[in-house]
């Protein structure tokens, strides 16, 4: 019965059935583990709910409470600071390294590997190493080195002013290798003929950089800006494991959005409020992604 049904199908019908058969398990996965939870996150953001009690619809109250909360704005600006300061610094360093490294033959692979290694480390493990470096005398290496030059002790993680930057440093450090590799790939993709033509025209080094390399690297740069902006906006591991006093301290000065979400959801069990915060994070990331599409629009038009 089934066999004769199968044999009566055209080849295309058979292929379509096979395709849906291959997709069956993945579709169940995406519906239950991705789409339904996404819908639920939005849904819960309009609820008052503390895990054990019942859900109660409260409209936009979670959002209005968040926007009326001073701590939220501190956290929000911290998150923006991680991205707005961290991204340009890391891209500037990684581009400079990639640009010069690309010209070097001797030991190229070894040097590139050394720059890349931090990318492979576990953020939590490295958080410990950096935390140790930041300790006051006589433990912390940074302060020991500063003392050699007669510079006074710095509080680093324990200070409201320096904490955020001290946590940002290992995040920048760990991401550089990835960006350098991508930049080198971008540099190699530029056709050699471009450079030869420029040399014949007598263009100087700086001119080649500005008029050939930088425009050709625009897609690569946009890609890296987006990837690392999203990365910094979602920073969590380093903050959770490095900040002094309590997570996000001192005095919330290092706390990013994801840590606030974590605390509302899993310390205070205010799941409605936490979901509303995740919706805000989602909108922030969506804004960044749309910005990418807008920045890269020339590229798509040309294609």
């Amino acid at each position: 019965m089934i066999k004769s049904f199968w044999e009566n199908l055209t080849i295309n019908q058979k292929l379509a059935i096979t395709a849906w058969f291959f997709l069956a398990v993945p579709i169940i996965f995406y519906v239950t583990i991705r789409f339904y939870p996404t819908f639920e996150a939005f849904y819960v953001s309009f609820m008052k709910w503390n895990l054990l009690g019942t859900q109660k619809y409260i409209g936009f109250k979670n959002f209005s409470r968040i926007f009326g909360d001073e701590d939220f704005w501190i956290v929000f600006w911290n998150t923006i600071k991680y991205a707005i300061i961290g991204v340009p610094i890391s891209l500037l360093i990684s581009f400079t390294v990639a640009y010069y490294l690309n010209e070097i033959r001797f030991g190229h692979q070894t040097i590139r590997a050394l720059y890349f290694i931090p990318f492979l480390t576990t953020a939590v493990a490295m958080a410990w190493v950096w935390r140790w470096f930041y300790q006051p005398m006589p433990i912390g290496y940074f302060n020991i080195i500063l003392s050699w030059f007669g510079i006074e002790q710095q509080p680093f993680l324990r200070s409201v002013e320096q904490g955020l930057y001290s946590i940002m440093a290992p995040a920048v450090w760990a991401g550089l290798g990835f960006q350098i590799v991508i930049f080198i790939a971008g540099l190699r993709a530029i056709p050699k003929s471009h450079f030869e033509a420029a040399e014949i025209d007598g263009a100087g080094r700086f001119q080649i950089l500005r008029e050939i390399i930088l425009p050709a690297l625009k897609p690569t740069t946009v890609f890296l800006v987006i990837i690392s902006t999203i990365g910094f906006l979602r920073i969590f591991d380093q903050v959770y494991n490095m900040s002094a006093d309590s997570a996000g301290g001192p005095l919330n000065s290092t706390k990013p959005l994801v840590l606030m979400i974590y605390e509302y959801a899993f310390d205070m069990y205010k799941l409605g409020r936490a979901s509303a915060l995740t919706v805000i994070l989602f909108l922030l990331l969506l804004f960044v992604s749309l910005l990418q599409l807008w920045l890269a629009r020339d590229q798509y038009e040309k294609k």
Binding site: Y36, I117, L120, W130, I182
Partner: protein, 282 residues
Amino acid sequence: MKKNDQIIERLEHLNPSKILTWTLLFIGSIVMVTPIIFMVSTSFKTGQEVYTLSLFPKSPTFENYIFILKESKFLIWLLNSLWVASFSTVSVLFFDSLVGYTLAKFKFRGREIVFVAILSTLMIPTEMLIIPWYMMSREFGWIDTYWGIAFPGLMTGFGTFLMRQFFLTLPDELIEAARIDGWSEFAIWWKIAMPLVIPALSALAIFHFLGNWTAFLWPLIIVNDPDMYTIPVGLASFNGEFQMDWEIVMTASCLATIPTLFVFIFLQKYIIKGIMLAGLKG
């Protein structure tokens, strides 16, 4: 002779500015690995020696390693991490490439919708899903289980997209020919298409494994039982317990980091190529 010529040619290209560039780049690369070097060196130091800046311990000791393996549950965490990351990676390799292949090589109504739907999941940050996932896990008893740690990452939109891009480059004639020879569709995918995209598969495997090995937020939420910790969660739990014993903490950090570095040394070429491939395709 030829080699000599090459060397002479190279020497002629050497000029002060190139040597300076090389030296600066080299110093920079050493600075980059300094935290790792000091982590390793401290793991062999005794408690008294920790506060000296010396790179080589005066009397290297394995005491810290023995202590960690004996007094903490590090070995259990290592096995947990290995098991979860391997299981998840195998799943991703199988399903992401199966879906990527289907979307690239089958023509059927609804294909575009499925592709866009899967692609759209890339826009949703994990942080938005952890609360629903947690609620789900409470409901079904997945807390403190391997399945609970692994289930969110068993298929990924990124991997599906990457594999689809690679399968698109395979010629249709190849598949047609196999069909005429009477191969089943599954066999065509598994025995003909898959071996041709091994570079992409290895890139995906490395990325996914590393991502799982270092993952912190979700395991922190889903696991309460110290016997179920993964390495990052276990390391974070040292906070307070061994806080002042930096040599102990560095040893644990070392044990967490060294496996991935070893893998890198052996697979360096593939990893770098994989990142370049993924970066350019993505």
